[in-house]
Symmetry: C2
Subunit: 277 residues, 2 copies
């Protein structure tokens, strides 16, 4: 497994990889969700590359950049065990050198949901993903459905800007009790960890109602808010029933719908979603 | 010479080209300035590709998009004669399909000069160049120094977003009387064409003063405004002495400086510049 830091090192190492290359961009502190993307890349491509970069421009000033969990030795051991060919661990000063002033922005899709409560977040995401894509030059890239809006935004960016990298969105990986895997789960106390199943429980209850024919968005949202109301350690930030393609809220579920939410467990903010179709 | 329109056609044709590929993005209605870029690409690369696309997103609502000069058969004949390998003539509906919503923006460098008088212009330029670069996947790309700020902005974008395409800026090509070649020169009446030499005459006079030791920006600007004042058919829009790297106005010329101007000849807007160093 080749490990590189600078972009010239990356470009040299990239040339040695057999095509097609499958690329998994990450912020590290890897869990089975990330590894499922690596395995998918490995199944579909001749080589697999992974980046590990906690991207400062996608964190707001009040967010958890400085305390975002990091464990590079463990990450590298996990990727080595998966048979990854190339790991790129760029330095923030190399990604954002003095004079940096170029941004990639997706407009409409970034307005609601995470974009509404995390101003500037997606500008940071799309800018760094554009940089990672351009630097890696992979044929395919793999993202997780857990970050549903991010996945939609990156697919839109790749299409709109004619990136040669084909984006694949892979299913959310969950713990045994349904909690979506996330590096931020590491922040949770034991009590909060137990209470955090409320995200999955609430989404599952709404999906059960949908499967039984409920098509009123307000009724589905109420199922979620009621379940959250019964969980004192959790605070629901938003619950959304949105058109899957536009991410605009709907009143009636008539086509593929993204049911998504954000919630606080103490100071830890978690997100999750189900696709209803 | 292969001629393609859609992006799938382009990607298929691109694979047949020997590397390195040199790419010349144009808006067509080609003149010797464009052809000098083609020749430079041919000298430095194994294959040469050219795009012809009058990009709507870089024109303001009051600008000359609809009447921008076009002559595709003539352009193709010129490129064929130069031994170009691949010409891409994208359709606006393929470049900006319904739902398009992603933009690339360079911040500081786009604020003064052309950016100040043409709001949104550079957002259109950087977005389309990002698309052209991603679709073409060329090793090198060639731009003209005549559009000095555009060249600086594209170099910055390519650096900031880690594009694998290396950008080269080539000298301005001029008519015998000094007028910088531009597709927009076709708009000029005979009288305006004659008066248009004022751009070159004014810049040359300022450069002569610089060469004789003048380092006060205000004095150089005054030389230009005085020469324009003596030319009734021309109206100076701006004259700038700016730091070459930041494009910020200077008082004293202490390092590499961009002396640039925009002027109207009737309704036709022309730009030109000299580098002082």
């Amino acid at each position: 497994m080749i490990i590189v830091t600078t972009i010239p090192e990356l470009r040299a190492a990239r040339k040695t990889l057999a095509a097609p290359v499958g690329f998994v961009p990450t912020m590290g502190y890897l869990h089975d969700g990330h590894l499922s993307l690596v395995r998918r890349a490995k199944a579909e491509c001749k080589s697999v590359s992974v980046s590990i970069f906690v991207n400062p421009t996608q964190f707001g000033p009040q967010e958890d950049l400085s305390k975002y969990p990091r464990d590079l030795p463990r990450d590298l051991a996990l990727l080595e065990a998966e048979g990854v060919d190339l790991v790129w661990t760029p330095a923030p000063a190399d990604m954002y050198p003095p004079g940096f002033q170029t941004w990639v922005e997706v407009e409409g899709l970034t307005t609601p949901l995470e974009g509404a409560v995390r101003p500037g977040h997606f500008r940071g995401v799309t800018t760094v993903v554009a940089k990672l894509f351009n630097a890696m030059g992979a044929e395919k890239a793999f993202f997780g459905q857990k970050d549903a809006q991010q996945a939609a935004v990156i697919c839109r960016m790749a299409l709109d800007l004619n990136f040669p990298t084909e984006v694949t969105v892979c299913p959310t990986v969950r713990e045994a009790d349904g909690l979506a895997m996330s590096s931020r789960n590491a922040y949770l106390s034991a009590d909060e960890r137990q209470a955090a199943t409320v995200l999955y429980r609430a989404l599952s209850a709404a999906k059960a109602a949908y499967d039984q024919g409920e098509r009123r968005a307000e009724a589905l949202r109420k199922i979620v808010t009621d379940i959250f109301a019964a969980e004192p350690l959790a605070r629901l930030q938003y619950i959304s029933c949105a058109d899957f393609d536009t991410l605009q809220e709907v009143d009636q579920l008539t086509s593929k719908t993204l049911l998504s939410l954000a919630a606080f467990l103490g100071k830890t903010r978690l997100i999750d979603n189900f696709i209803l179709e």
